[in-house]
C-alpha cells in the first residue's frame, strides 16, 4: 500500500475497532481498518479478564453515564454475536461476596439500582446458599450478590472473528500499519502511515492505548484519559474445580480489586491490582503478583502460587480515575467534524456491540450515507476445536486428514490440522497461532511445541524458520543458524 483512498478509516484493530468495522460492513460503505501490530486484539483487548458483564455490578454504574448505557445496550447483543462468529461464550454467573452487614447493605443498594433499570436477575445469597454454589469459598464470606447473567468469552478470538467477518463482508483490513500523522482538510483527512498515505472522509479513532495521541495529531483530543495498568495471573487447568463462577469482592484499598474467574478454556484468572502507570510499561512486577495472590486467597483460600502458569499486565484508558469512577469517550470530536473517538476503558469487550452501533450512528449523523449491504453475511466459521469433538468426530476427522491426528501442543491438545487452519486464516507468528488455537498457551508455555509450530509456520508461509517471529517486528525467535557464530558452514 503506498496510496489508498477510502470513505471511512478505522484506526485500531482491537475489539472496538473491529466491532465498528463489522457493523459498518452491514452497509455499502467503503471502509478500511488499520492495525499497527501484525495481528488483531494485541493491545488492551488481549490484557483482559475475559468477562462479559452487564454493568450493574459496580456502584459507579448509573443511567446518566454514557458508558453504563452502552454496556446495558450490549447485554442482549453479545451472545448472538458470539454465536454468529463461533466464539466461545459461557454464562457462568457472578458472585459478589460480602463479609459483613455493611457490605451486604451496599450490595442491596446496587441491587435496587439495577432493578430500577429493569435488571432483575440478581439474588442475595446467604452463607449456606453461597457455599452450595461454591464450596471452596472463604468461610469469612457471609453471603453474596448473585447474578446468573454474567458470562465469559475469549476477547482476542472475538476480535479476530470480528475482523475476519468484516473482511468477508468487504472491509479492507490491514495489519502492520501505524498512523504517524493526520491532516484535516475541507474534503476529508490525509493520514500518513508507516505503509503509505491514506485519504479518507471519516475517521474512527479506536486506537486503544494511543486513542488520545492519535486524536492529538489532528487536534481532536477534546478529552483526557489516564493509563491504568492491571495485572492478571493464569492458573493451571488442573485447579479449575476450585471455582465455577466469576467471584469478586469490593476492594479493601483503592486499586486492589480482587477477582477470580473461570475462563472459557478451563484455566482460572486471578487479578487484578490496578494502578496508574507509565503508558506502555506493561512489565509485571513482584508487587502486583503478591497483591493479586493475597487478594485472591481472601476469596478462595486454596489458591496456590505454584498453580500459576503465567501472568501478564495490560492497560485500560480511564477517564477520571481519581474520582473512583469513569466515563467513556464515544463521540464525534467537538473540534474536528467527521472524526469519531472511541474509548471505553472498562469494560471495553462488554460494551463493544452497542458501541459499534453507536459509532455507525455518529458517522451517519456526520453525513456518511448508509445503504444496506444485501450481501452481508453475519456468520463466520471458527477453526476446528479438536479437543471438544466427540470420539466419533475425532475418528472421522483423522481418517480424512491425518494432520488432525498429529498433536503438536500437548498441554492444550492442539493438532497440526488446527495450526494449518489458523495460518490459512492469517496467523503469521507464534502468538498469532497461539491466540487462534491455544498452541503454547498451556502449562508448559510452549516449551515443547514452539519448535514444532515454528517449523509448521515456516513450511506453510514458505519462509525460513529463522524469520518466524513471536509477535512481529524484531521478535524473531532464532537469531542465528548453527555454526554461523563461529564462521563455519553447516
Amino acid at each position: 500500500m503506498s496510496e489508498l483512498k477510502t470513505e471511512v478509516l478505522i484506526i485500531g484493530g482491537g475489539v472496538l475497532g473491529t466491532a465498528v468495522a463489522r457493523e459498518l460492513s452491514r452497509y455499502k460503505v467503503d471502509a478500511t481498518l488499520i492495525e499497527k501490530e501484525v495481528d488483531f486484539g494485541w493491545g488492551s483487548t488481549k490484557a483482559n479478564m475475559c468477562i462479559v458483564c452487564q454493568g450493574a455490578d459496580h456502584l459507579e454504574f448509573r443511567k446518566e453515564y454514557h458508558r453504563s448505557r452502552l454496556v446495558w445496550e450490549s447485554m442482549p447483543l453479545m451472545e448472538p454475536m458470539c454465536q454468529e462468529l463461533e466464539v466461545p461464550f459461557n454464562r457462568v454467573g457472578e458472585l459478589a461476596l460480602f463479609f459483613n452487614n455493611s457490605g451486604k447493605e451496599k450490595y442491596e443498594k446496587m441491587m435496587a439500582r439495577a432493578e430500577s433499570r429493569g435488571i432483575t436477575t440478581h439474588q442475595l445469597l446467604d452463607r449456606d446458599s453461597l457455599r452450595r454454589l461454591e464450596p471452596n469459598i472463604a468461610r469469612e464470606a457471609t453471603g453474596a450478590l448473585y447474578d446468573p447473567s454474567i458470562a465469559i468469552t475469549d476477547p482476542v478470538r472475538l476480535t479476530i472473528a470480528l475482523a475476519g467477518n468484516a473482511r468477508q463482508n468487504g472491509v479492507n483490513v490491514i495489519t502492520g500499519t501505524e498512523v504517524q500523522d493526520i491532516k484535516a482538510g475541507a474534503g476529508g483527512f490525509e493520514v500518513k502511515t508507516s505503509q503509505g498515505n491514506i485519504s479518507c472522509e471519516f475517521v474512527v479513532n479506536a486506537a486503544g492505548m494511543a486513542v488520545d495521541k492519535v486524536a492529538a495529531l489532528v487536534n481532536a483530543d477534546d478529552f483526557i484519559v489516564f493509563p491504568i495498568r492491571g495485572y492478571v495471573a493464569i492458573l493451571d487447568k488442573k485447579v479449575s474445580d476450585l471455582v465455577s463462577h466469576e467471584v469478586h469482592a469490593r476492594p479493601e484499598a483503592p486499586g486492589e480489586s480482587n477477582i477470580i474467574t473461570p475462563t472459557v478454556y478451563g484455566n482460572l484468572f486471578i487479578g487484578t491490582p490496578m494502578k496508574l502507570a507509565r503508558r506502555g510499561d506493561d512489565a509485571t512486577n513482584r508487587e502486583m503478583a503478591v497483591v493479586a495472590l493475597r487478594n485472591a486467597r481472601r476469596l478462595i483460600p486454596d489458591i496456590s502460587e505454584k498453580d500459576i502458569i503465567n501472568s501478564f499486565a495490560g492497560f485500560l484508558m480511564f477517564r477520571n480515575w481519581e474520582l473512583g469512577w469513569h466515563e467513556c469517550v464515544v463521540n464525534t470530536s467537538s473540534t474536528v467534524p467527521r472524526f469519531v473517538n472511541v474509548s471505553i476503558g472498562f469494560p471495553g469487550v462488554s460494551a463493544a456491540p452497542a458501541t459499534a452501533r453507536e459509532v455507525v450512528k455518529l458517522l451517519s449523523r456526520e453525513g456518511l450515507e448508509l445503504r444496506e449491504n444485501p450481501g452481508f453475511n453475519p456468520y463466520r466459521k471458527a477453526i476446528t476445536d479438536f479437543t471438544n469433538l466427540t470420539d466419533e468426530e475425532k475418528r472421522k476427522l483423522i481418517a480424512s486428514d491425518s494432520r488432525y491426528g498429529h498433536v503438536v501442543c500437548r498441554c492444550e491438545t492442539v493438532t497440526e490440522g488446527e495450526i494449518v487452519e489458523a495460518i490459512k486464516q492469517g496467523a503469521a507468528t507464534l502468538d498469532g497461532v497461539k491466540f487462534r488455537t491455544r498452541a503454547g498457551m498451556g502449562r508448559c508455555q510452549s516449551g515443547f511445541c514452539s519448535s514444532r509450530v515454528t517449523g509448521i509456520l515456516a513450511r506453510e508461509l514458505g519462509i525460513p524458520e529463522e524469520e518466524i517471529t513471536k509477535k512481529g517486528g524484531e521478535s524473531r525467535q532464532l537469531l542465528y543458524k548453527s555454526k554461523e557464530l563461529i564462521g563455519g558452514r553447516e
Binding site: I234, K238, D282, A283, T284, N285, R286, A289, E305, K306, I308, I309, N310, S311, F312, T387, D391, K394, R395, L397, I398, A399, S402, R403, G405, H406, V407, R410, C411, T413, T415, R443, C444, Q445, S446, G447, F448, S450, S451, E465, E466, T469, K470, K471, G472, E474, S475, R476, Q477, L478, L479, Y480, K481, S482, K483, E484, L485, I486, G487, E490
Partner: protein, 418 residues
C-alpha cells in the same frame, strides 16, 4: 497386533518407556505397545548429544543418542510395538486409553496393564514468576537444546541462564562452543542445582561466570529480550535491591526445575505425592490404581538416565506380571521422610523383598549418617539436594523388621565428630 489384545501399554517412548516395554516383553507379556507423541522413540535423549550416559548401566561413556539407540534396537529385537506421533489424550481409572495418532487414527482400547512413562517438563518463565516484559528470546534450556542440537539454530549470541540445572549447564557449554557468549549462570541457592561434574566440565572449564545466591528480578526488552536485572538474595531468598545490576543479553535460558508430567495420571485417578509431584508407588512401581504402574521421571526427577532405566524396568516387569494374572506386592509399610529427607521412592514397601530406595535430601550437609529405621545405617561424607541417594535393602536387613511394622522413618542425621 490388534490393540484390543494389548497386554501392556506404555505411555511415553523415552528412556523410561522403552526400558519398561523391553522388560515387559522379557518377563513374558505377549503384546507390548509404546505410545509416543513425538516423531520417533528415544525421547529427549536424542537432543542430548553430550556424553556421560550409561556410565553405570553399560559401564561405558555414551552420548544420549547412543544410549537411546541401544534401547530402541533392543525394543525392536524383543518385539515391542512402537506407535510414534501418537498422543494419549485420556486414561480412565478402568485403564481405558484414548489416543490421537497421525498414522493409526483415533484409538480407544483397554490394555491389561499400563506403565506411565511420560517423563517431566521444565518450569516455564510463567511458572517461575519472573517479572518484567514479555519479549521473544526466552526459552527453557531443553527447548534451546532442541533448537541447537536437532533443528540447527542458535537462539542468540549473548546468553544468560537462570538456574544451574544440568541441562542449563550443558547448554552453557554447548552455546559457548557454538560461538555464543554466556554472560552468567544465575543460581538462587548457595550451590548448583545439577551434578558437580557438569559444574566443572561445563562452567569452570569454559570460564563461565556462576552467580550463586542471585536471581533475576526483571526482564527488559519489548520485542526481543535486551537485558535482565540480577540481584543477590538474602537468607530468605529475597532479592536485595541495592545489589541489583543489569546484564545485557539477547537470550535467556531457564533451567530452574523439572516437573513430573502427570496430567494423564490425574485423569486416571492416580494419587500423587505432593513432594515428588509423581505418583505414589509401591516397590513394584504400582500406583494407587491397580494395574497402572509408573517409572522414570514421571515418578520423581532423576539425575541419571541409568537409574531411570532400572526403575522403569521394574515397572515394566511388574506390569507384565499383572497382565499375566500375577499378584502384586503384599503388605504395606510406609516409608516416612525424617530429618533432612525430602522424599523416598517407593513410598511403600512390602518388607518381604529386596528393594532399592531412591531419596533426596532437603539441604546440603557434610558428615551425616543415613538411618533407615533400625535396619540399616550408613555414613556419608556429604549429601546434596541435587544428588539422589540410592540405598539397597537386602532380605537379611529386612528380616530385622518387627512383625506388624507399618512405618519406617528415614533420617539423615548429623554425625558426631570424634
Amino acid at each position: 497386533m490388534k490393540l484390543q489384545d494389548v497386554d501392556v501399554a506404555v505411555i511415553g517412548g523415552g528412556p523410561a518407556g522403552i526400558a519398561a516395554a523391553i522388560k515387559a516383553r522379557e518377563t513374558g507379556a505377549q503384546n507390548v505397545v509404546i505410545l509416543e507423541r513425538a516423531e520417533k522413540m528415544g525421547g529427549l535423549l536424542y537432543q542430548c548429544i553430550h556424553n556421560g550416559f550409561g556410565l553405570f548401566y553399560f559401564n561405558e561413556d555414551l552420548t544420549g543418542p547412543e544410549y537411546a539407540h541401544r534401547f530402541v534396537e533392543k525394543a525392536m529385537d524383543t518385539g515391542v510395538k512402537g506407535l510414534p506421533e501418537t498422543m494419549v489424550t485420556g486414561i480412565s481409572p478402568e485403564r481405558q486409553i484414548t489416543a490421537a495418532s497421525k498414522g493409526e487414527g483415533y484409538l480407544t482400547f483397554r490394555p491389561a496393564s499400563i506403565v506411565l512413562a511420560m517423563g517431566c517438563r521444565e518450569k516455564s518463565r510463567g511458572a517461575l514468576g519472573i517479572p518484567g516484559t514479555r519479549p521473544a528470546g526466552i526459552f527453557t534450556a531443553g527447548t534451546a537444546q532442541r533448537f541447537v542440537n536437532v533443528e540447527g539454530f542458535i537462539p542468540g549470541k549473548r546468553i544468560v541462564i537462570l538456574g544451574s540445572g544440568d541441562i542449563g549447564m550443558i547448554m552453557a557449554r554447548r552455546l559457548t562452543l557454538e560461538g555464543a557468549e554466556v554472560a552468567a549462570v544465575v543460581e538462587i541457592l548457595p550451590y548448583i542445582g545439577g551434578l558437580i561434574r557438569n559444574e566443572v566440565q561445563c562452567l569452570h572449564d569454559f570460564d563461565i561466570p556462576l552467580l550463586l545466591e542471585h536471581t533475576i528480578t526483571r526482564i527488559h526488552g519489548e520485542q526481543r529480550i535486551e537485558a535482565v536485572t540480577v540481584a543477590r538474595v538474602d537468607d530468605g531468598k529475597r532479592p536485595i535491591a541495592s545489589t541489583e545490576r543489569r546484564i545485557e543479553c539477547d537470550t535467556l535460558l531457564l533451567s530452574a526445575g523439572l516437573i513430573p508430567e502427570n496430567e494423564l495420571s490425574l485423569m486416571a485417578g492416580v494419587k500423587l505425592d505432593t513432594v515428588t509431584g509423581g505418583p505414589t508407588v509401591d516397590e513394584t512401581r504400582q500406583t494407587s490404581i491397580s494395574g497402572i504402574f509408573a517409572g522414570g521421571n514421571v515418578v520423581h526427577v532423576h539425575d541419571l538416565v541409568d537409574n531411570v532405566s532400572w526403575e522403569s524396568e521394574l515397572a515394566g516387569e511388574s506390569a507384565a506380571r499383572f497382565a499375566m494374572g500375577g499378584k502384586g506386592a503384599q503388605g504395606k509399610i510406609q516409608l516416612k521422610a525424617g530429618r533432612n529427607i525430602r522424599y523416598i521412592v517407593p513410598q511403600t514397601i512390602s518388607g518381604q523383598n529386596k528393594v532399592t530406595l531412591y531419596m533426596r535430601v532437603n539441604d546440603l550437609e557434610e558428615g551425616v549418617r543415613l538411618k533407615i529405621g533400625n535396619i540399616m545405617s550408613k555414613g556419608l561424607r556429604v549429601v546434596k539436594p541435587s544428588e539422589m541417594l540410592k540405598v539397597e535393602l537386602t532380605p537379611e536387613q529386612l528380616e530385622k523388621l518387627k512383625e506388624g511394622t507399618s512405618e519406617i522413618t528415614v533420617d539423615c542425621e548429623r554425625r558426631e565428630r570424634k
